[in-house]
């Protein structure tokens, strides 16, 4: 009988390990990129508000709150419309402060959007050219950040659906509220 030599199995094992590793990496959902900001303090920003150009929405507004939610939206963004309902629900939660960043929008359209669908936000900042949102690492609308004591703890890309509200957002808020 041929001698069983473990040496010959080493290359095969290595190849199999590599294949497992690569398949894991390739199957990763790239749309669920984790944000650079997670576990980091909120970025420095300053922008005028939608209702009053002289007022500003800035870092301290969000940083001073125990639990805050920053939502980036636009009236031209269709998913934002469906998400707005969820934000209205969230706005009823005591202790949770909602803030909006109006992204690359027309002011009249933005005002009309809020008038029609309601205003869940404590304050709405206006980012006319998308530059101020760049510090938030935004690359599309809608995006939502949950902030606990000035630190970003969660980022949601795309609209929040009802099931995501129940399965993801509310459990996170439950832990910190």
């Amino acid at each position: 009988m041929k001698k069983f030599n473990i040496k010959y199995f080493i290359p095969v094992t290595i190849v199999i390990l590599f294949l497992i590793f690569f398949s894991q990496v390739l199957n990763r959902d790239v749309s669920k990129l984790s944000s650079q900001l997670i576990e980091k303090p909120i970025p420095t920003f300053n922008m005028p508000t939608l209702f009053n150009d002289d007022q500003s929405f800035n870092t301290s507004d969000v940083a001073e709150k125990n639990v805050a939610l920053v939502n980036i939206w636009a009236s031209w963004c269709i998913p934002c419309r469906s998400e707005h309902e969820i934000l209205m629900i969230l706005s009823k939660i005591e202790g949770l402060n909602l803030y909006g960043i109006n992204y690359k929008d027309n002011k009249d359209n933005a005002l009309k959007f809020i008038e029609q669908l309601g205003n869940p936000y404590n304050k709405i900042g206006v980012d006319k050219n998308g530059r101020s949102s760049m510090v938030w690492g935004v690359y599309g609308v809608p995006e939502t950040f949950i902030i606990h004591k000035g630190t970003v703890i969660y980022k949601h890309i795309g609209p929040i659906h009802m099931n995501e509200l129940e399965d993801v957002i509310l459990p996170i808020l439950g832990k910190i509220l």
Binding site: L33, P43, Y139, G140
Partner: protein
């Protein structure tokens, strides 16, 4: 007729280049901008650079880079700012930092292992042959 067409095309080209945002930059600055565009990943069309992309985010990022260059920032400053905002992944070439050491040096380590194994194999063979001779 052909000459008229050529003149028309040339005027069009020169006009369009004047109209672009890069007109505020010197040619050296423009070269730097293009190099940076080719180094920056377009995050909404992930296998492309912003140089190759016309997506809205790519346009914003290009504008940002151009403005930063005009403001006198160095290439490294601009890259660092992009990484702070969007993460390491935005750079097409990963930086040579501690977290990326494995990424950069593993090919050489594997090459070294390969060379060692190969030499051992050859050496073993030749000593075996010597025994039989």
């Amino acid at each position: 007729m052909k000459i008229k067409l050529l003149i028309l095309i040339l005027t069009f080209i020169s006009f369009s280049s004047i109209l672009s945002a890069s007109s505020k930059m010197t040619s050296k600055q423009n070269d730097r901008a293009i190099d940076l565009f080719k180094e920056t990943r377009c995050l909404v069309c992930q296998s492309q650079t912003i140089y190759d992309s016309n997506s809205e985010l790519a346009t914003d990022l290009k504008l940002f880079i151009q403005e930063e260059i005009i403001a006198g920032k160095t290439d490294n400053d601009i890259k660092a700012q992009l990484v702070t905002n969007y993460g390491e992944w935005i750079l097409m070439t990963p930086s040579l930092s501690k977290t990326n050491y494995i990424l950069w040096f593993s090919p050489f380590i594997f090459l070294l292992i390969g060379i060692v194994v190969m030499f051992k194999y050859i050496f073993n063979k030749s000593t075996k042959r010597n025994k039989y001779e």
